[in-house]
């Protein structure tokens, strides 16, 4: 019995990723995403100006020494762009991680226990889902003031229910399978059964979902920034950049164009990866069930 367990645990996830990587769209997606990530990570080191340094009057299209002119506040658009990816990527990663960890744990517990605990968990998550998102952000931020932690928390919390639903859905059939009963019979602890036996068998669903939620978190954080919710008002951040420079769009488009293109590319990149993963996992799931 335990041989079956081993086989299932070890082999599935890597083969999924490996298979996905053979797909053209996954390769393109990965390239794009890595490129944007590289800009975000390395940008601050090569930026010609500081992120909050005054360069010239606001909204000038061409300023000697700058590539894309100045922004709404007279700062260098290009430097702000180079600085602006890091925070949004980190925030999105952190928020997604929270959502994934919480959502997966809750989904697995619900699926494994079923019955009343399942009901309680899923209905609680329904409450969170039905709570208007904008309102949640507005309220939390009015209450505590905008801070990175709160943004991570609100975005993470809002992704949790969706992930929990997906994972629960994927885990329910797994829980009913023989090897789980076998593991229980061998006296493995509940926690071990859930995380060592059930979890590895929902990784394909999880991987696809991670990708989707990361995309969603990026959008969510950019929108929050667009609505003005950022801890430091003048911090360089792609979402905030769009909001700040939007008014001058017809006069100085670069401040909006650069971050928009970067965010769009990032979303497209992660979207393509997700596409690849889900296409492959759909195949695996069908094959794996081996009816």
């Amino acid at each position: 019995m335990s041989a079956v367990v081993e086989q299932v645990t070890v082999e599935r996830p890597p083969s999924l990723v490996r298979q996905a990587l053979k797909l053209r769209r996954t390769q393109v997606g990965l390239t794009i995403a890595l490129l944007i990530a590289a800009i975000a990570i390395l940008g601050p080191f090569v930026a010609p100006f500081g992120s909050t340094e005054f360069v010239d009057s606001p909204n000038l299209k061409s300023v000697p020494g700058t590539v894309f002119g100045t922004d709404y506040f007279g700062q260098d658009v290009f430097s702000r762009f180079l600085f602006g990816g890091r925070s949004i990527l980190l925030l999105a990663l952190a928020a997604t991680t929270i959502g994934i960890v919480l959502g997966t744990t809750l989904g697995l517990i619900a699926a494994y226990n079923r019955g009343r605990l399942d009901e309680v968990i899923m209905r609680t998550l329904d409450v969170i889902l039905s709570f208007p998102q904008v309102l949640l952000s507005l309220l939390v931020i009015s209450m505590f003031g905008p801070s990175n932690l709160l943004i991570i928390f609100t975005v993470g919390l809002s992704t949790t229910p969706r992930i929990a639903r997906i994972i629960r859905g994927a885990a329910v059939p797994v829980v009913e399978r023989d090897f789980i009963a076998a593991a229980e019979a061998l006296g493995e602890s509940r926690r071990r059964v859930i995380f060592a036996e059930v979890l590895p068998n929902v990784t394909s669903s999880l991987l696809v979902e991670v990708n989707l939620r990361l995309t969603y978190s990026i959008g969510g954080i950019a929108s929050l920034a667009f609505l003005g919710f950022t801890p430091n008002p003048n911090s360089a951040n792609w979402g905030l950049m769009i909001q700040e420079n939007r008014v001058a769009l017809t006069e100085q488009p670069w401040g909006v164009v650069l971050p928009t293109v970067a965010l769009a590319l990032l979303t497209i990149g992660t979207g393509l990866i997700g596409d690849g993963l889900s296409r492959v996992s759909a195949g695996i799931d069908r094959g794996g069930k081996g009816e």
Partner: protein, 321 residues
């Protein structure tokens, strides 16, 4: 079988009501924790002890919290939503027209995006990995990657202000006029929302259809010699819409509550801006009612989607037993 469906319905409705009750309680508690109370927020620097006391008495803030909550809840059941703190108008009159406006916007956007996305998604699934599929999946990916405010701003610049001036830049609804009184002004907001929502639904529809088209019973249907069109319309699409309904419902619920960005861009008098304003001025009766309303929309669309999924999907109809 009917008994099962009825029991399922009753349970879901009961759960929905419980959810709404908890949401209303939560929102009430959270608003209590905000750093300034409505009287302080409203009077700001003009506050005097006398005017604060007068306003608190007027708003009923001098009563115990549980009493405030239950008198509000009682009001909801009897249709008395109270008076807005900020405008001194009955909440019903303030929010009523905005509900209609938001609903109409939602209806038009749904009417525009759902058929388009179903057609695109199904066709792409049918032509899997062919040119239409790859092109449409790239196009939907790119469109999904553009935030609403970018789509809306670009549309405005193209059609209303800078390139050509064919369409109104903002919606103008005279108070008392129905939302369809300015169809020209609705064009850009609806277009923005359709462009923002369609890609998601189309992608989900495609995925669902791919799965359905590869399933055994479609294979069976084909083997039985049914023609492709019958297979598609009679068997594949109904089964494919099922899973997509959830996503469509989520998107509709989002449209109902969260279109604040589109409302701001086009000055559309909907619920999103009203909610943001109400939070800012701590206009509790409005905040509470709108939250409840948006949560209700969510719960109801979700419920309908669940029921719809069960009814539409032939496989699930039988599984419910």
């Amino acid at each position: 079988m009917k008994g099962y469906i009825a029991r399922f319905l009753v349970k879901r409705i009961a759960l929905g009501i419980a959810t709404l009750f908890i949401v209303s309680l939560l929102i009430f508690l959270i608003t209590q924790a905000l750093p300034s109370d409505p009287a302080e927020a409203m009077l700001g620097r003009e506050a005097t002890p006398e005017s604060l006391a007068a306003l608190r008495a007027q708003f009923g803030l001098d009563q115990p919290i549980y009493q405030q909550y239950f008198s509000w809840l009682g009001g909801v059941f009897t249709g008395d939503l109270g008076e807005s703190f900020a405008t001194m108008m009955p909440v019903k009159d303030l929010v009523g027209p905005r509900i209609g406006a938001s609903f109409f916007l939602l209806l038009l956007s749904a009417a525009g995006s759902i058929p388009i996305s179903i057609v695109i998604g199904s066709y792409a699934a049918l032509k899997r990995d062919k040119k239409f599929d790859t092109t449409s999946s790239m196009a939907t990916l790119i469109l999904a990657a553009l935030p609403e405010f970018v789509v809306g701003t670009v549309l405005t610049v193209l059609f209303a202000t800078t390139v050509v001036q064919w369409l109104p830049a903002v919606t103008y609804l005279a108070p008392g006029e129905p939302p369809w009184s300015d169809m020209a002004g609705l064009t850009l907001p609806v277009l923005t929302l359709v462009i923002s929502v369609t890609p998601y639904v189309a992608r989900v529809m495609r995925a669902a259809m791919v799965e359905v088209l590869e399933s055994d019973y479609i294979e069976m249907a084909r083997l039985k010699g049914m023609d492709e069109r019958t297979v598609l319309w009679r068997h594949a699409i109904p089964n494919g819409i099922g899973p997509s309904l959830q996503v469509i419902a989520l998107n509709l619920a989002y449209l109902a509550g969260g279109v604040i960005i589109v409302e701001r861009l086009f000055n559309y008098p909907g619920l999103g801006t009203a909610l943001a304003d109400a939070v800012r001025s701590r206009d509790m009766p409005v905040v509470q009612f709108l939250t409840l309303l948006i949560a209700t929309v969510y719960v109801v669309t979700n419920l309908l989607a669940d029921i719809g999924t069960v009814l539409v999907t032939p496989r699930l109809r039988t599984r419910l037993k």
